[in-house]
Amino acid sequence: MREPSSSVPNAYWRPIDADGFHTAIQCFDICNKVITAVDNSFGLATRETQYGEGVEEALDGNQEEEPSTFQPEDLSSAEWYHQVQERIRRKQLRAMFEPLGSSQNRENTFQAFHSLNRPVSSSELTLSALMAAGAHLGAHRSRSRPTFLPYVYGRRANIDIIDLDQTLAMFRRAANFLRLLTTKGGTVLWVGTEVDMVKRAAKKASDRVGVHSFHISDKWMRGIFTNASALIGPEVREGDYLPDAAVFLNPRMNLGALRECHGAMVPTIGIIDSDTDPRIVTYAIPANDESPRAVELISGVLSVAAREGVTEWQAIRAREKAQKARRVKEWEQRQAQQQMGPPEE
């Protein structure tokens, strides 16, 4: 907290907090001391108010998730309650005014978190979207893998640039494969380990598909496919415990898991960066696996494709069920008629 500088020309324009609202506690100490506030000359870059609370707008990627209930240690309980109350109030205020003013609002414009929370269908994915997410930025040239060379567009600034034309085509192939798989009722496993954003993307993708979808984000238990009966129990040998496809969001760090999938004959999809051999997965998607936005975009769109397949599968099942019910009813009617028929003759 800094005292307001004497260069503030007009007392009417008080410097205010980074998030744009007076901290309420300050308001009522002004009878005894000068109004103190954080100078907002840093604009959005200043993220912390005096209580260390981050700005919730614009810089947070997960706007549509529920806020955590974490309470920092340096706040007293009363101050924390007050902060919570203020946040709720501001949210309500924003929600009230959001649909007003103009036809353009937060709902119908692109926001940074849309690639995570609102992915498009695979047929709507564009080259420019991939490029905006940084999917074309490969690894440093010193880590360049010779077998990845067919997918490299060129080299610039000491990194390999991935050819997004091929990426888009291979991506659509992988998405179509997933869609077909889930249309037939197949299971998908999403694997994203070690890196927080990859873990989050894997979980979100799995949740989006809903049925027949699982994710591994903590640790791949070694031998879970090839040695399942020893790790889980002998009863799994009778069951159908293998997924029908596995999607790896960072295959470079899961080579053991990939080897197991290969051994168990589970087809794999993976985001392959330019320092990885694309042959380790069945369906490679050459793209940058280090950028959160690229990973979220790709996993999101893949999950939308899988979700479309699931919807189709559910529709087919519902249709078949209705047909079967109708046939059973017809058969029963015919039986009833036959029973009544012969005496009339």
Partner: protein
């Protein structure tokens, strides 16, 4: 490049198949035109930016007994659209391009170089909020007022009619343009607050409500027992003179206020409804000096149902607040 040009020319959103490729080279050459059209069902090209919202009533018909057709057009179309067009001109190519109006107001409020953007956005938001709470009818919709709001207004103003005259008086007394708001604070007290110019209720420091150095105060509920009975106004506790949030003057308390919580009096003002105090709102129908008539007739088209719903939403937020009455006296 050619694909995008074609797309703009045809104006259709259907996916385009590629026409003749730019140049046929051998398969190993990487520098070639895109083989896959980068189409999208999202419209490409220039962004539309801000536009008029759909109101609940047509803007080419008179609004009850309040506004004629021309007057409705002046406020709801000419003024609003003009604000949005000018705002679009200002924000093109800036960080505000993809933001909604509320976000634009909040973020530009703190930046002096974006003052014009803030002014346009704030006026557009306030005008939209104002227009949204009107409904075309010639019948008083007072019966639509909810029981909660009715009781609340009675508590603070005596009765609803007194509240109406109080708020109209606040608007009458304003010289210059602005907005008069009915607000509710975190302790559930109702009040009438005026913002001048392009002031907004979203950001306290930009309320532009009480000019610094003057003794003007937020006009809190004026009717209390003492006043009606002719008794002198209650004195404030001597140990701590209560100042208004902006430090401009001493706040007068209605007796109905909870004395234990006066330290946090009016700390957050949440708007419920507003009146537009701009000459363009009454000039065409009532003339330059038609403010009084305008204010009288405003109450005939106010949607009390909507106002009650906003009031209810704020009561829910207040009542859902974790009740933490610790030593600091917050609740």
């Amino acid at each position: 490049m050619s694909a995008s040009l074609l797309r703009r020319a045809t104006g259709s959103l259907a996916p385009l198949l590629r026409s003749a490729p730019a140049s046929h080279t051998t398969a190993t050459c990487r520098h070639r035109a895109p083989r896959i059209p980068a189409f999208s069902h999202v419209r490409s090209g220039s962004r539309a930016l801000h536009g008029l919202t759909q109101l609940r009533y047509p803007t080419d018909e008179p609004l009850g007994e309040f506004w004629s057709r021309e007057q409705v057009r002046i406020v709801a179309v000419d003024y609003q659209e003009g604000l949005l067009l000018r705002l679009n001109d200002e924000i093109r190519g800036t960080e505000y391009e993809a933001k909604g109006i509320a976000d634009t107001v909040i973020e530009s409020a703190t930046k002096r170089e974006d003052a014009l953007i803030f002014n346009y956005a704030s006026q557009a938001l306030n005008n939209s909020f104002f227009l949204d709470s009107l409904v075309p009818t010639s019948v008083h919709l007072m019966h639509d007022i909810s029981a909660d709001l009715h009781k609340h207004l009675e508590e603070h103003y005596g009765n609803v009619q007194q509240f109406i005259s109080y708020m109209s008086a606040a608007a009458m007394g304003m010289v210059g343009s602005g907005w008069v708001w009915l607000v509710i604070d975190a302790q559930g007290r109702l009040a009438t607050v005026a913002t001048y110019g392009a002031g907004t209720m979203l950001i306290r420091a930009r309320a532009q409500a009480n000019p610094m150095g003057s003794r003007d105060l937020p006009l809190f509920g004026g009717a209390w027992e003492g006043e009606r009975a002719g008794a002198p106004r209650p004195l404030l506790p001597r140990r701590k003179a209560l100042r208004s949030p902006d430090g401009s003057g001493v706040v007068q308390l209605p007796l109905t206020a909870d004395a234990a919580n006066f330290k946090f009096f009016g700390q957050s003002l949440n708007p419920i409804m507003c009146i537009s105090v701009h000459e363009h709102a009454w000039l065409h129908d009532y003339g330059v000096w038609g403010k009084e008539e305008y204010l009288k007739r405003f109450w005939t088209v106010l949607d009390w149902d909507k106002v009650s719903r906003y009031h209810r939403k704020w009561l829910d937020v207040i009542q859902a607040a974790p009740a933490d009455t610790s030593k600091t006296g917050r609740s």
